[in-house]
């Protein structure tokens, strides 16, 4: 059970870790100071949650593991984040649409994780749910602004949506080990809120005058450790210090 639980914690935390890393790239380069600060703040919340998850995973694993061995010392295929969060910051519209597609999932996930029979996970969720509610409000507001703003912002937001929508389905993939944790009352049954998720994002896209792509095929792989070509570069940068100077205290 413990091994499965650690695996599950990684699938949950890695989404935050990699999305936070993407947001970290933008710090100091935002379209104005207010959005710069807001996106950094979202990144900070995500990393804060990552620390709690990995501290718990390290405790379960024991030995020499720590939050940092989980964050920095795994191989690419051991990271289990969905493909959506590793997509690049092509422009502000991609950043916002990516954030929105994740946030609407994330808030529902956290609301449900609060009810987990695992007390630590429930506590992490109870603390994080307020943060994530803010993220969802921020990104939804910006989807509306971009979609229903100028011709250019509409075009860019539509492009981002067209390109990123294909990654949404993977958010709801659950493997057998995860399903056994669902049955044990520990993991969140994401299938429960899948239709609500799509209803909500479609409603916001409608308000934003954006057209939901007619998508028949969805991309997947990250949750199984099969990532996009972006991932290697993300990790090269993120792991640089730990790989170059192994076994040191910072």
């Amino acid at each position: 059970m413990s091994k499965e639980l650690i695996q599950y914690i990684c699938t949950v935390a890695d989404n935050n870790l990699i999305l936070g890393q993407r947001l970290g790239e933008l710090c100091g380069h935002g379209p104005n100071i207010e959005t710069d600060i807001a996106l950094t703040n979202i990144g900070l919340d995500l990393f804060g949650q990552v620390r709690s998850y990995f501290q718990y995973a390290a405790k379960l694993e024991g030995g020499n593991s720590s939050e940092d061995t989980f964050a920095f010392l795994r191989k690419e295929n051991e990271y289990k984040n969905v493909l959506l969060v590793e997509q690049p910051n092509t422009d502000f519209a991609y950043t916002i649409v990516r954030q929105f597609l994740y946030d609407v999932y994330h808030i529902r996930f956290m609301e449900n994780l609060q009810k987990s029979s695992d007390e630590t996970l429930a506590a992490i969720a109870a603390k994080g749910v307020k943060e994530v509610a803010y993220h969802a409000r921020f990104s939804a507001d910006w989807v509306r602004r971009l979609g229903d703003g100028t011709e250019e912002s509409h075009r860019r937001a539509q492009q981002a949506l067209d390109d990123l929508y294909t990654y949404t389905d993977e958010l709801f993939h659950q493997n057998e080990s995860e399903l056994s944790l669902v049955n044990a009352g520990i993991a969140v049954n994401t299938a429960q809120f899948k239709s609500d998720y799509y209803q909500t994002i479609h409603a916001v896209f409608a308000e934003a005058t954006l057209t939901v792509p007619d998508q028949k095929y969805f991309l997947k792989g990250g949750k199984k450790g099969i990532h996009s070509e972006h991932m290697g570069y993300i990790l090269t940068e993120m792991q640089y210090m730990q790989r170059t100077y192994p076994n040191m205290q910072w």
Binding site: Q21, G24, E25, C27, G28, H29, G30, P31, N32, I33, E34, T35, D36, I37, T40, N41, G43, L44, F47, G48, V50, R51, F54, E67, D68, A71, F72, D91, F92, D103, V104, I107, A136, R137, A140, R144, R145, L146, D148, G149, T150, E152, S153, R156, T200, A203, V204, E207, E237, M238, Y240, M241, Q242, Y245, M248, Q249, W250
Partner: protein, 318 residues
């Protein structure tokens, strides 16, 4: 307004400053006071915003999660400082757009220190410890400055800056408690950041033409050389405590003066960087220009949306 009236306003204004009263945005003030304050406050704001870049460069590469969270928070604080300093400058009748245009055109200056590159993780320690340390020296003096909005911004900024300085010193301390490789990294960072940090206090008093007027307006409460000396006196024992060597052969405690004597600053390098030819001047301004230009359509969208929806109420679906 007659010359007599202006003169009497000016006398009253000077009296208020002499009495340590705060000048507020709507109070009468001499034009030169307004302009000098716009220049200094905006220069300070620009420094915060450009200052996000060298440290921002390391956010994606922090060695641990704890360090990553702390660095992100620090750089975010700097953005916040920039924001309220721009707001303080706006109370003097200039818009943020104008101020940013001045930065991007090269007309306005920002602190030269940010034109040096952040090359290793230890630079995150050295910047926090030395650069924020030097900034605090300047800024604590400004808490009592005569212009109310600036003074109040300074109170908050100083609290955060002193936290940043401790954070930077703690990074250095961890490195000095680490392996030889880590100690070398820390010493190398100090070697590169020490002299530029001393330069942060500006030219020698004898060559600082604005000092006298600024002292009278309490926009400056101590001279450049006084602040530089205070910084050296404060920092040398901190370096010694953790086993770092200040890269200055002439550095020596002077028992008579009760201060450290220290070597000569390379003023040629100082003027080179101030005048735009430092190692990263070009990159820093380009990064700011790119962020501003790439963000134009986003700001336009927000304006257009706000106008369209000014009279509409809308339901939030999330």
């Amino acid at each position: 307004m007659s010359e007599m009236e202006i003169k009497s306003l000016e006398e009253r204004f000077n009296q208020r400053i002499a009495n340590d009263e705060k000048i507020e945005a709507k109070d009468w003030m001499p034009e030169k006071y307004r302009k000098t304050h716009i220049r200094q406050i905006s220069q300070h704001a620009h420094s915060e915003i450009v200052g996000m870049l060298p440290e921002g460069n390391w956010i994606t590469r922090c060695p641990t999660l704890r360090r990553k969270v702390a660095l992100l928070a620090k750089v975010q604080d700097e953005g916040g400082h920039g924001l309220y300093l721009y707001s303080a400058a706006e109370t003097l009748g200039i818009s943020r757009e104008e101020l940013i245009d001045q930065l991007l055109s090269g007309e306005a200056k920002y602190s030269s220190i940010f034109n040096y590159p952040a090359l290793t993780w230890a630079d995150m320690g050295a910047i926090g410890w030395l650069v924020d340390g030097a900034a605090i020296m300047n800024q604590v003096a400004l808490i009592n400055t005569s212009y109310g909005p600036y003074s109040r911004a300074m109170i908050r900024i100083c609290k955060e800056e002193s936290f940043h300085q401790r954070q930077g010193y703690e990074i250095m301390m961890a490195l000095m408690n680490g392996t030889q490789e880590q100690r070398d990294m820390a010493q190398d960072a100090l070697n590169r950041w020490w002299w530029p940090s001393l330069m942060m206090f500006g030219p020698r008093d004898a060559e600082s033409p604005n000092t006298e007027q600024s002292m009278r307006w309490k926009l400056k409460r101590k001279t450049n050389d006084e602040l530089r000396q205070a910084f050296v006196d404060q920092t040398v024992p901190q370096a010694e405590l953790i086993g770092l060597r200040i890269p200055d052969d002439k550095l020596k405690w002077n028992e008579e003066r009760k201060h450290y004597d220290f070597g000569d600053i390379d003023w040629e390098e100082f003027w080179q960087v101030v005048n735009g030819h430092g190692p990263c001047n070009k990159q820093r301004l380009e990064a700011r220009r790119k962020a501003h230009e790439d963000g134009a359509w986003v700001r336009d969208a927000a304006m257009a949306y706000a106008e369209k929806h000014a009279n509409k109420t809308y339901r939030q679906a999330v």
